[in-house]
Every structure is written in C-alpha cells, then in structure tokens.
C-alpha cells in the first residue's frame, strides 16, 4: 500500500494543472452539496417567507376570545414556544369616515367609507408580511404621526409622500404624514393605514393594547408539526385566546414540499455531474499512463497493485478535494446569505444568521466526495489493471472498446428514452419524477453514439466561421476521436443546462398561466368593483339598467357583468356566477382546464355549468356529470360542460352559468360586478367622464382601470419569481468545470500535435481558435442534449405541479434561449485557459512531450 500511495502522490504532483482541475471538480461537487445543503434550508425558509409575505399569508393569528383588545405583553408569552419564525402583534381598528370626508362634497357620496388603522411594531410586522414600498420608505420605530398607505388610497386621498392627511380618532382629528407608498391593492379591500403601534394606540385610546398577533412558523412544518406548534401556542397563551389558522395553507405547503423535493433532485444532479468530471479525468489518466502501467506490470506489479495505485490516487484527491470543498462550501453559504440578504430585505424582514454547520452534513459531504471520487476511479482502475505489458507499448486500443460499448449503451438508452416518454404521456404522477431521472440517464447512454453525427452536424457551421484558418475541420476531428469523453462532458453540461431549460419551462408556464388569468380577470378597460370580491353575497348590486346605461355610452363597446347567486348541492355551499355567455368572452374570460370556448355556447342553450377547480375538489364531480342544484322551488339538474377558472373566484367553490338560467331558477337579476371595454376609436377622456358621472349614482362600486391593476400585479409576480432563478444558475456551473476539464485534458493530451501544428506553420491564433472551435462544438453538443433533457424535465415539473395548480405546458422559449446563450458562453469561457495554454506552448518542449 505504501508504494501505491507514494506513487499516487508523485503522479498527482507531476501533473499539477490536471490534478488541480480534477480536484476542482471534487471541490465543486462537495462545495455544492455541503454549501447548498447548508444554505438551502435558510433560503427555503426565506423563499417561503417571501411567498407568504407577498401573498400576505399568515400561519396562525391569535385573538382574544372576546374579540376585544388585550395587553401587548401577552405576546411575550410566546417567547419560549419553539418553531416560531416571526411574531407580530398589532392593533387593528376600522375607522368609519364621514360621508363627504374625501371630496368634501356632500352631494356626492364617497366610495371610500371606512379605512383600517393598523398599528404595528415596524420590524416585527415586516417579518410576517411583505411591504414592497414603491415610493418613500417603510415605517421606522422613531416615526411619529407617520403612515404608510397604498397607491390606491393615496390616489383617493390625493396625497403624495411627504404630504399629510387627517383621520378622525378617539381624540379628534390626527394629522398623519405619508412616508411610504405601497403598490396599489390588487383586490378591492378595505384600505389599510399602517402606523407605528403607539400612534394607533393613542388614536384609538387603547394604550399598551393590541388585538391581533400574527405568527409565521418555521419552514416545511408538516401537519403534525403544525398541530404541535399550535398546541404549544395555546398552552402558552391560556384559554382566553383563540388560535386561528388563516392560510388556505395546505396547497401552499404541498407546493413547498414539492419545491424541496425538486431541490434535492437538483443536488443529486450536481453530484452526478461531479462524478462525470472525475470519471473523465481518471479515464484520461489511465490512457495517458498506459506505458507506465505496462512497464509496472512488466516489472512484476500485480493487477491489484495497479488498481491500488489508481484508487489511491482517487482517494487522495477525494480527501483533498472534499476538505477544500467543505471550507469553500461554508464560505459560499456565508456569501450567498450575505448577498441574498440585501435584495431579500426589500421584501421581508428576515434576518439570516450565519450558516449552521451540521456535523452529520460534514460527514455526509466528505463521504459523498470521497465515495464518488473513488467510485469514478473504479472503472478506469479496473481498465488499467487489464493493460498487458505488451499492449502498453503499442498505440492505444481503447477506442475500439469504446465503440463496441457505445453500441450497447445506445440501444439501452433508446429503450429507456422510449419507455420514459410513454411514462410522462401516461400522466401517472407517481412515475413522473423517477421517469425524469431515468430519461436523463437514457440521454447519457445515448450521447456517445450521437457525438459523431452531432459533430458532423455542427462542424460545418464552425468550419464556415473559421474557413480562412483551416482549423475548423481539425477541431471537429479532434472531438470525434474521443467520443466517449465528449459524451461524458456533454452529459455533464447537459444536466446543468437541462435544469435551466426545465426551470425556464416551469417559470414560463407559471407566469404564462397567471398572466393569462390576470389578463382575463383584470384585462378589461374598466372594472366596477364591489367592496368585497369573493364574498359576492355581501355586496349591494345594481339593477340591469346601470349596465344598460353603460352600454349606451358613446365609445363603450362591450359590457359584461357578474350576477351572484348562492345554492347548495349535496349540502355543499356553491357560489353561482351568472355571466352573459356572449359578452363575457369578449371582455373577460375563463381559463379552461377541461373544455374550451365552445362551452360558452352550451351555457347559453341549456341548463349547463362551467365549474372551477375548487368546485371539483369540494364536490366529487367531473366534467360531463349532471348535478342537482337547490333552488327555492326544489332541485334542478345542471350538466357540467367544462372546467374553467378566473382569478376572482379561484378559491371559492364556484359554478358559472348563464344569467338567463340564474334568473329563471334563482331569481337573480342584480349585477354585482361590471367590466367594460372601450371601442378602439373611442375618445378615452370623453368616455371616462361620462362613465364617472354614471358611476356617481352607484357608490357601491369602485371604478378602476384594469390596465393599472394588471401592471401592478405583474410587477409583484415578477419579483416573486426572480428568486427562483438564482438557485438554478448555480447548478449550471458544473457544466463549466466539466467543459474546462475536458478541454484542458484534450490540450494536454495533444501537446505534441499542437507543437507540430505550430512547427509546420500554425500561428498562435490558429491554435487558440482551434481549441475555441472545439469548445464551441462541445458546448453545442452539450446544449443540444441539455435542451432535450430540459424540455422533458420541464414537462415533468409542470405535470407534477399541475396536481396543485392548473398549469399548461408552455414551450420554454426563454429557458431554451437562456440555455443556448449560457451553453455557448460557457463553452467559450471554458476554452479561455486551455486555448491560451495551447497557444503558448513552447514548440520544442511540446514536440518532446510524451
């Protein structure tokens, strides 16, 4: 063993550059596993907080059973409850505004009749909810008589940052200065005025009292853990307090859990890539050292000794790489947390502490690092042991072996690809994630056989670019001589890029559908919104005349209304939305999950319903079923003709039907929500004035511009998605290392040839371009497979998430574009060092190189 180790150490020392590069692969693998796993729980918690915050989702909210306020010290009782991430106590009071408070015009009733005064401890509040200030700043502890309000309220009150408005309170009028503006409210809710807690207490005369405690708990608590935490909270507070769960939580947590599984899959992929890189290096080491090994065998070394040398080498590298990887991984975790803290703090007040080193994770990472390295060295070591002394003195025979093996691999790979394609088409959700991994494995197997055809495919392009230099063809043949190595590199970069394409697919699918829904729900030019959107029943509607008046306004093209009715089926409450099947699709629209636009026609003709996803979940029914709806005159049968949703009713058990049927069976003729579109050539200002004057007679509605709401909502959504990309970009880096490793090996291996090319008149530029061309080809092949794998993975993700959220698969144009750009860019980046090295070779030394 001593011989093996000392030989291994010397070999490693002799080829410093390659040793460094291979070790780099191990370092990166360990770094990724250790660093990511150190930082991810924190990141996920942050992400969760982010999403929860943006959506205003709270895990638990505590109130006094009397409904009254209580001393704010009560919150301190929660200090010893484990598992709480953030606690915010606040005082919430509705302030009714005098009738002519806003416009000082008693003749015209205000649309704003009440506001919520919310007193908070600024930092605490920001840890449970996101306050994305768009202008000015957030509240500070030292602020007095300062308020943060939404753009919508600021517009209603005609105030800007720095200006004041007054509010009636227990001690008379109070002047509040606006210090910050929040985005316009998406849902028409009672506007909030955010002030510091003491300010609210003073204005309401409730010194040192609060009436609500919002709590968010640790990330990924499953249901049992949530119950446990809830119990601890109840015990800590005593029986006078009730703990309410405000979230529609479950879907959210299911989505989060899916996210965590996804990240673990990415971690595994990263490890896989590391393994590829190491495997490539050791295979090259063995090929390169054939003579040495043959000589050792000639001198009497046994096969075991030869295996021992290679494995000792991988063990040494594994240990060194893992050690450095651990250190860098920790630093990376530290760095990421530092970097992320900045942008994150814009959304939410989440203090990320220093990463915690878990001894188990250290062991696991080192075990994986060394394990993968030794494992990757095993096959090359075995191959090395098969080298006969004679064989070592002849030119390499390895190529033929590789070709024979790629034949079998190709067939097996193709079979896997075919089977997995069927799996994903079958829609069996349980098989989908393993199917995705198998698909990638299939691609890895198929790759070697496709390297030559692909090199031939992309080669002419490269040759065309480099036509005057006579090196494109050389680069192509260089790649083709090592199809196995190229395949392994392409596989490694494929995995990285596949993740990008998949992520792109997922994000564009999600943004696609949400965008579609938002456009459908808010896309009309003007909306007449009642005080409560989801609780339609509490709204005072308007008679059909109002809508008719609106239709007659010059310049108004189409008016569509919602009418609301309530019913039950099988004892379940159902909210009925009556639409005009003709006008509705022109102004707004449903997103169909089953069925299509033709459903509107069916709605007009018979007793039919379009139901939403929530309906399907609540009532065990599917499209095509006939259900009984309760009316005042007994039950009537309705057929479900399609499944569709809109954003306004997404969370409520809803069935859409024609207004005619709603009138016949349920006697409803009142409009509760009105959308209208203007004609293309309408004079907007004139129409607006007329609509406004008509609206004055219906103060129950708030008139808003659909475009403004759509814009505000889109901005928020984009912000929420941007965080997802950061994680994915990280996984693309192993592709870079893999390509760099292969190119460097390839340059080292061809040192003498490069010397010859230089000797017979190749310029440094030509040699550099030759390596660059090779890199581009390599990258093109990797990208090709990456896109293929990524499209599949993306489809898998979308299908997986579909269970929870109705996504359509959008072709990942952005993901593919990103992958192509990143792939080729990485190719060039990876080539920089090897190309320089090749160009700078001393000719005489290169010619002597063995």
């Amino acid at each position: 063993m001593k011989l093996q180790l000392s030989l291994a150490a010397r070999y490693l020392g002799r080829r410093k550059l390659r040793t460094t590069l291979t070790t780099l692969a191990i370092i990166f693998g360990v770094l990724l596993i250790f660093g990511m796993n150190t930082v991810l729980p924190t990141m996920i918690a942050a992400l969760q907080a982010n999403v929860q915050g943006v959506e205003g989702q709270i895990d638990f909210s505590i109130t006094n059973i009397s409904g009254e306020s209580f001393p704010q010290e009560i919150a301190n009782r929660l200090q010893n409850v484990a598992g709480l991430r953030a606690v915010s106590a606040s005082l919430n009071r509705t302030i009714n505004l005098p009738a002519d408070y806003i416009d000082r015009d008693p003749a015209r009733p205000d649309t704003l009749i009440a506001v919520n005064l919310v007193g908070v401890t600024s930092e605490d509040a920001r840890s449970v909810r996101a306050y994305a200030i768009i202008e000015g700043r957030y509240l500070e502890d030292s602020d007095t008589a300062s308020a943060v309000i939404s753009q919508t309220l600021a517009d209603a009150l005609s105030v800007k940052v720095g200006e004041s408005f007054s509010l009636p309170g227990a001690s008379g009028l109070t002047e509040l200065t606006v210090v910050g503006i929040l985005p316009p409210n998406i849902m028409p809710i009672t506007e909030e005025i955010l002030v510091n807690l003491p300010q609210a207490q003073e204005m309401t005369g409730e010194t040192d009292r609060v009436n609500l405690i919002d709590i968010n708990i640790e990330g990924f608590a499953d249901e049992a853990r949530r119950n446990e935490i809830q119990q601890q909270i109840e015990t800590a507070l005593g029986k006078n307090y009730q703990v309410g769960t405000l979230t529609a939580g479950d879907e959210m947590f299911a989505a989060m859990e899916l996210g965590q599984i996804g990240l673990s899959v990415f971690g595994a992929l990263a490890l896989f890539m590391g393994g590829f890189i190491i495997f490539n290096t050791f295979r090259t080491i063995v090929t390169e050292r054939r003579r040495d090994i043959g000589m050792l065998r000639a001198l009497g070394a046994t096969r075991r000794t030869v295996i021992g040398i290679i494995l000792a080498e991988s063990l040494l590298q594994g240990l060194i790489g893992s050690a450095i990887g651990l250190i860098l991984g920790y630093l990376m975790a530290l760095g990421i947390i530092k970097i992320v803290q900045g942008p994150l703090s814009l959304f939410i007040n989440l203090k990320l502490g220093a990463p915690v080193i878990s001894p188990l994770l250290v062991l696991f990472s080192v075990g994986l690092g060394v394990g993968v390295t030794v494992l990757a060295g095993l096959l090359p070591a075995w191959n090395a042991s098969r080298i006969t002394p004679l064989e070592a003195l002849r030119p390499s025979q390895a190529e033929i072996d590789v070709k024979r093996k790629t034949g079998i691999g190709f067939i097996v790979g193709m079979l896997i690809l075919i089977v997995t394609t069927f799996v994903v088409l079958s829609g069996q959700s349980a098989l989908i994630i393993p199917g995705g991994l198998f698909f990638l494995a299939g691609l890895v197997l198929v790759t070697p056989a496709l390297v030559n055809p692909l090199a031939n495919l992309f080669g002419p392009i490269i040759s065309w670019i480099t036509v005057r230099q006579g090196i494109g063809g050389l680069a192509k043949s260089n790649l083709k001589r090592q199809p196995a190595r190229v395949a392994v590199t392409a596989s490694a970069s494929m995995l990285g890029l596949a993740v990008i394409v998949a992520a792109g697919g997922l994000v564009s699918s999600m943004t696609g559908i949400i965008d579609e829904l938002m456009l459908a729900s808010f896309g009309s030019d003007y909306l007449f919104v009642p005080p409560s959107v989801m609780l339609w029943g509490s709204n005072i509607g308007s008679s059909p005349e109002f809508a008719q008046d609106l239709r007659e306004v010059e310049g108004v093209e189409e008016v569509s209304t919602f009418r609301y009715g309530a019913t039950t089926t099988n004892g379940q409450a159902v909210s009925l939305i009556g639409i005009d099947p003709e006008a509705f699709p022109n102004v707004s629209g449903l997103h169909f999950l089953k069925g299509n636009q033709s459903a509107y026609k069916k709605l007009a003709s018979k007793r039919t319903l379009v139901v939403n996803g929530a309906f399907l979940l609540a009532i065990d029914a599917k499209a095509g079923d006939t259900i009984e709806l309760q009316t005042t005159n007994g039950t009537v049968s309705y057929e479900i003709v399609a499944v569709g949703m809109d954003l306004l009713n997404a969370k409520v058990t809803t069935a859409y039907l024609s207004q005619a049927n709603l009138e016949t069976d349920f006697g409803v003729t009142e409009d509760v929500f009105i959308q209208l579109n203007l004609a293309e050539d309408a004079s907007r200002e004139a129409v607006k004035t007329e609509i406004w004057s008509l609206a004055a007679n219906y103060p129950q509605y708030k008139l808003i511009s659909g475009t403004d709401y759509y814009g505000a909502m889109k901005t928020q959504m984009d912000a929420a998605f941007s965080a997802v990309y950061i994680v994915f970009v990280f996984l693309a880096i192993p592709s870079l290392i893999a390509m760099m490793n292969t190119l460097t090996i390839s340059v080292l291996e061809r040192t003498r040839e490069i010397g010859m090319v230089r000797a017979v008149g190749g310029t440094r530029r030509q040699v550099r371009n030759m390596v660059l061309a090779e890199a581009l080809l390599l990258a093109a092949i990797g990208t090709f497979f990456g896109i293929l794998g990524g499209m599949y993975l993306g489809y898998v993700f979308v299908t997986g998430i579909k269970v929870l959220f109705p996504l359509g698969y959008y072709f990942p144009v952005s993901g593919i574009t990103t992958a192509v750009i990143i792939g080729l860019f990485f190719g060039l980046l990876a080539a920089i060092i090897p190309a320089r090295q090749a160009a700078r070779l001393e000719i005489v030394q290169a010619l002597r190189y063995e």
Binding site: G470, E753, V757, R758, V760, G761, G762, V844
Partner: protein
C-alpha cells in the same frame, strides 16, 4: 550562395549551477540545394541546432540568417509564416495527426495557410503520388507502416514548396530497410527537387546519403567533411565518427 548562415550561435539552458551549454558559437553556412547531415553523440546539441535554424526556439546568443534575413529577432507571427512557407519539418515520431487521413495530414501546412481544401489536397496528392502513396491517400496513420507514415510526413514537409527541409532523426523510428528508403527519398528531394535538406542523425549509414556531414560534440562543430559518393560509403563515415568520438 548560402541559404543558411549562423554566426556565433549559442544556446544555454538553465542558469547558475545547473547551466547546460547546448551549443557554443556555431558558425555554419549551408548552400542552396545541399543535403547536410548533422551527426554527433547523444546530447551534443544536434537537435537544438535544428530547432534554432527552424525558428522553433530562440538562441541565447548569435544570429541565424535564412536567405540573408535574420530570424533571431523576428516576431512570432512572422516566424510562423516563415516556417509555413519556407521550411518543412520531418520528425522522428512522424507527428501525424491520428484522426486525419494521409492526404489531410500532408496538406496541413497549406490548409493552415488558408488555401482551399480542394487545392490543398491536390497539392498534397501530387507529393504522395511521387512517394508511391497514391493508393493510400485516405488511410489514417494507424493504417500505415512506419516507413509509409514518414513518407507522408515528408510529403507534408514539401507541400508548401519550402526551400529548406529540416529532418530530426527521420529514420530513428523505422526499420533498416525503410530507413534507407527515407534517406534515399531525402536525397532525391535535395537533388531532384532542388531543396536544401538538413538532417540530424546518429546513424552513419544514413548520414552517408548526404553531401556533407557536420560533426558536433559538446555543442561545438568539431569537424566536417564533404562526401564523395565513390569513396565515402557508410563504412568510411563510421570510421570518421569513431575518430571524433575518441
């Protein structure tokens, strides 16, 4: 007229205690069309001399002129172009690119010069046919014998029509019969096609094909002789080597 002239050409490797003087004040003139063999024991500086003349390496001191132009201070790109157009190299280990066919290998210098592949292959084919490799044009190096590979390498050296051919132990890696063939071929190159050939060898039998032999020892020219084809066979050259070696 001398195509090559060196003036006090020296090459020193390393520094301090480990200094090795590979060449010391070499003054050498080679006339156009001459076939020169450079001989000497291992480590005498034969290959170093060839590398310096070929512009593959820079001298520590002294000057080299090719066709009257000094190449010592030439920038790399200009030197590369000179190598590509004026000089052809033949190496001991052939240094053919294994993934390229015979004709592609032979055409490499002109391909690198930006000549269209079709024209480049035509020129390479012409030389390969002259060297009786017309039927092996699309064979890869591993499908050729050592002698055949070296003939491809010589075709490669000639394809750009250089005036000077530098051959470093061209027969060192082939059997005796092929060695004779190669040496004969290089003599033809010199005589029939009027090129200047400088060949490094340690084999007296091979050196006997040359017009002139330069003997190097410890980095210095210790002797040189013009060969008379009638009186100087391999045996005579071997004798001369013995004398110098003593």
């Amino acid at each position: 007229m001398s195509i090559i002239s060196t003036e006090n050409l020296s090459k020193v490797y390393g520094s301090g205690a480990t200094t090795v003087t590979a060449l010391e004040k070499i003054n050498l003139k080679v006339n156009s069309g001459q076939f020169v063999a450079v001989m000497g024991p291992s480590g005498c500086g034969k290959s170093t001399l060839l590398h310096l003349i070929g512009g593959l390496d820079k001298p520590t001191e002294g000057d080299i002129k090719i066709e009257g132009v000094s190449i010592t201070q030439m920038p790399d790109d200009q030197l590369t172009e000179l190598r590509r157009r004026k000089i052809g190299f033949v190496f001991q280990f052939f240094n053919l690119i294994p993934v390229m066919t015979a004709v592609e290998n032979a055409a490499l210098p002109v391909t690198l010069d930006g000549i269209k592949p079709a024209d480049a292959y035509k020129r390479a084919t012409k030389w390969l046919e002259r060297f009786e490799l017309g039927d092996r044009l699309s064979s890869r190096p591993d499908q050729l014998s050592g002698g055949q590979q070296q003939r491809v390498a010589i075709a490669r050296a000639l394809v750009a029509d250089p005036t000077l051919i530098l051959a470093d132990e061209p027969t060192g890696n082939v059997d005796t019969r092929s060695g004779d063939e190669i040496a004969g071929l290089l003599r033809d190159v010199s005589k029939q096609y009027d090129r200047t050939v400088i060949m490094v060898t340690h084999d007296p039998r091979i050196a006997a094909y040359a017009d002139r032999i330069v003997f190097l020892k410890d980095g210095k020219v210790v002797d040189e002789t013009l060969l008379d084809r009638k009186n100087h066979g391999a045996a005579a050259v071997t004798r001369m080597i013995k004398e110098i070696g003593d």
